[in-house]
């Protein structure tokens, strides 16, 4: 039955699975939480390393799981990059989670993440999506430092469930129209004219929009992000979004988008960009602000679909990585506070430069990068996306999108103003990010520097 190829093809997943099992065992014998964290990091690093190694080795088996799962070096690279991003998340979770469940759930979710970019069949993709999100419902309220966490989890669960149902409905209609569960059918019927397959594509896209929080399907995101704890929000804002986008890349394949779906991909992301950036202006909660920012970034990400199909994956992966790295950087260095809502409040950043110059500097870099300003990687990513949009000939939308991105600069600057320029010298005591989180920050800044200095090299790898 399973050939060695099949075994190797799922190597990253296997590492994760091993990690999950070891963690569960550890949990059962209730060994120290510290060990659990390191096991998780080890597992994730091994998985990421395996993925990257396989990508570098050019491992491309022919159909290890015919019709269900396939891998190419590019897919391995994407997996590897995203898995590597999970390391900082784990590192920064230390301060919030004292026991091992977090790691188990995170690893399970990552397992789902790994399935998405290589799924050939909607069956696998559906499992991947569910595996990605179900543990997160639990993660959202896992820290439970305030009652709103439950509210957040419930909202997330219900709308995510609705997204799953919508996705299934779309898949079902597609199945009805073509008789196949293969993801490629989506791309094939994109330009079809019959109503049912058209409805099917629209429903699938809507479901992806829902998961990625595109206006008007975004409403769960700010609430869920705010209710969750810092590492979980970081995870949701970066990896989950990235995974959903990878799924979308998988679904769209390499065809150039046209027809009604292209319209959706033009209009709704644009609305998201503007809406997200505007709504973020008045936020006073850091996580909520990032949520709106992530809505806007989801907009940019879907813009990337408009370009030539063959460069889509590298564009999306690069954007996701650039965006995630700096987002994680910001989250890693959010100063500690005993009260979660105070930690979250932007006032917590007031005068941060005086208290913790490193954190202020790195968060500042993160904010500027999120704003898409050079020379930070966010700019290259933005450039990449808009270059594709221009190349596809959607000049007006590209310009509007850029102007929308301009709106966002203001609220990112606001964070900088608070950190560096507020005269408030009364400093809350002992409020620095934990040392592990700082380590995560350092990892992220290293990655940021790499992305900033050698974007060409990195893109060539994706």
């Amino acid at each position: 039955m399973p050939s060695p190829d099949a075994l190797i093809a799922m190597m990253p997943e296997h590492f994760l699975l091993v990690g999950i099992i070891v963690l569960i065992l550890l949990e059962v014998v209730s060994l120290s939480a510290r060990a659990a964290l390191w096991v998780a990091i080890l597992a994730v690093s091994a998985a990421a390393g395996a993925a990257i190694f396989l990508a570098q080795a050019g491992f491309a088996p022919s159909a290890p799981f015919p019709g269900l799962l396939s891998v190419t070096p590019a897919i391995f690279m994407a997996k590897g990059a995203l898995l590597a991003l999970a390391v900082p998340v784990l590192l920064m979770s230390r301060s919030e989670f004292k026991d091992g469940e977090f790691s188990i759930l995170l690893l399970s979710s990552l397992y789902g993440l790994c399935l998405l970019p290589s799924s050939d069949s909607f069956l696998v993709m559906f499992i991947g999506l569910e595996l990605l999100s179900v543990p997160v419902y639990a993660l959202v309220l896992l820290a439970f430092r305030r009652p709103q966490s439950a509210e957040a989890a419930f909202k997330y669960l219900v709308l995510s469930g609705a997204a799953s149902a919508t996705f299934l409905m779309g898949v079902s209609l597609l199945y009805g129209a073509t008789g196949s569960m293969n993801v490629e059918t989506f791309a094939q019927v994109l330009s079809a004219s019959d109503m049912m397959s058209r409805a099917a594509t629209v429903l699938i896209v809507v479901a992806l929009f829902l998961k990625a929080a595109i206006v008007p399907f975004h409403a769960w995101a700010p609430d869920a992000y705010e209710g969750a704890s810092v590492p979980v929000t970081a995870y949701m804002a970066t990896l989950i979004k990235g995974a959903v986008l990878l799924a979308a890349v998988r679904v769209f394949g390499v065809v150039n988008v046209s027809g009604p779906v292209a319209d959706l991909l033009l209009v709704l992301p644009l609305v998201s960009i503007v809406w997200g950036n505007l709504a973020a202006i008045r936020q006073n909660s850091f996580r909520r602000m990032i949520a709106y920012s992530s809505i806007a970034h989801a907009g940019y990400l879907f813009y990337a679909f408009l370009g030539a199909g063959d460069s889509r994956q590298s564009a999306v992966v690069f954007y996701v990585v650039a965006y995630s790295v700096v987002n994680l950087l910001a989250f890693a260095l959010v100063p500690e506070n005993t009260r979660d809502d105070e930690r979250d409040s932007l006032d917590n950043f007031r005068g941060l430069y005086r208290r913790d110059p490193l954190a202020a500097g790195l968060i500042g870099i993160a904010m500027l990068s999120l704003a898409g300003l050079p020379p930070f990687p966010g700019f290259v990513a933005k450039f990449l996306v808009f270059r594709n949009v221009f190349a596809a000939g959607h000049t007006t939308y590209a310009v509007l999108g850029l102007i929308g991105s301009y709106i966002g600069i203001y609220f990112y600057l606001r964070v900088l103003v608070l950190m560096f320029m507020s005269a408030d010298d009364a400093e809350p005591a002992g409020s620095r990010a934990s040392s592990l989180a700082r380590m995560a920050g350092v990892l992220c800044i290293g990655a940021t520097a790499l992305l900033a200095i050698m974007p060409g090299w990195v893109i060539a790898r994706f």
Binding site: S121, F122, L123, F126, I127, E130, V134, Y137, A138, L141, P147, Q148, A150, E151, A152, A153, F154, K155, L157, V158, G161, A162, S164, A165, L168, M169, V171, S172, L173, Y175, G176, G179, S180, M181, P222, D223, E226, G227, R282, Q283, R288
Partner: protein, 100 residues
């Protein structure tokens, strides 16, 4: 009316009713049940098409949906309990602490 068409219509109606339930019902448990209704609607169409194409894929997906639905409920119920514990109400309309 064609049978497939009828079943498909029914499936869509169930799906839409479920979605409508999410919009208009305030009780958290009822909302969960409406989610189940949506999934049931999807299942119906999947089974129909699976039959129509004589392909096991649809049926497998239905099977997966069963499992996922169960898991979601299993996860959702404790969350609802937690919510109720805190606000002593099943009314989702009251859970609006997170906004803006």
């Amino acid at each position: 009316m064609d049978r497939v068409q009828f079943l498909l219509g029914l499936s869509i109606a169930l799906f839409s009713l479920g979605l409508l339930g999410l919009v208009i019902r305030r009780n958290a448990l009822v909302m969960l049940m409406c989610m189940e209704l949506m999934l049931n609607g999807v299942n119906l169409s999947l089974v129909t098409f699976s039959q129509r194409h004589a392909d096991a894929g649809g049926a497998v997906l239905v099977f997966l949906v069963f499992i996922v639905a169960t898991a979601e409920i299993a996860l959702a119920i404790p969350i609802v309990l937690l919510l109720v514990k805190h606000t002593r109400s099943m009314d989702i309309g009251r859970y609006t602490d997170l906004k803006g």
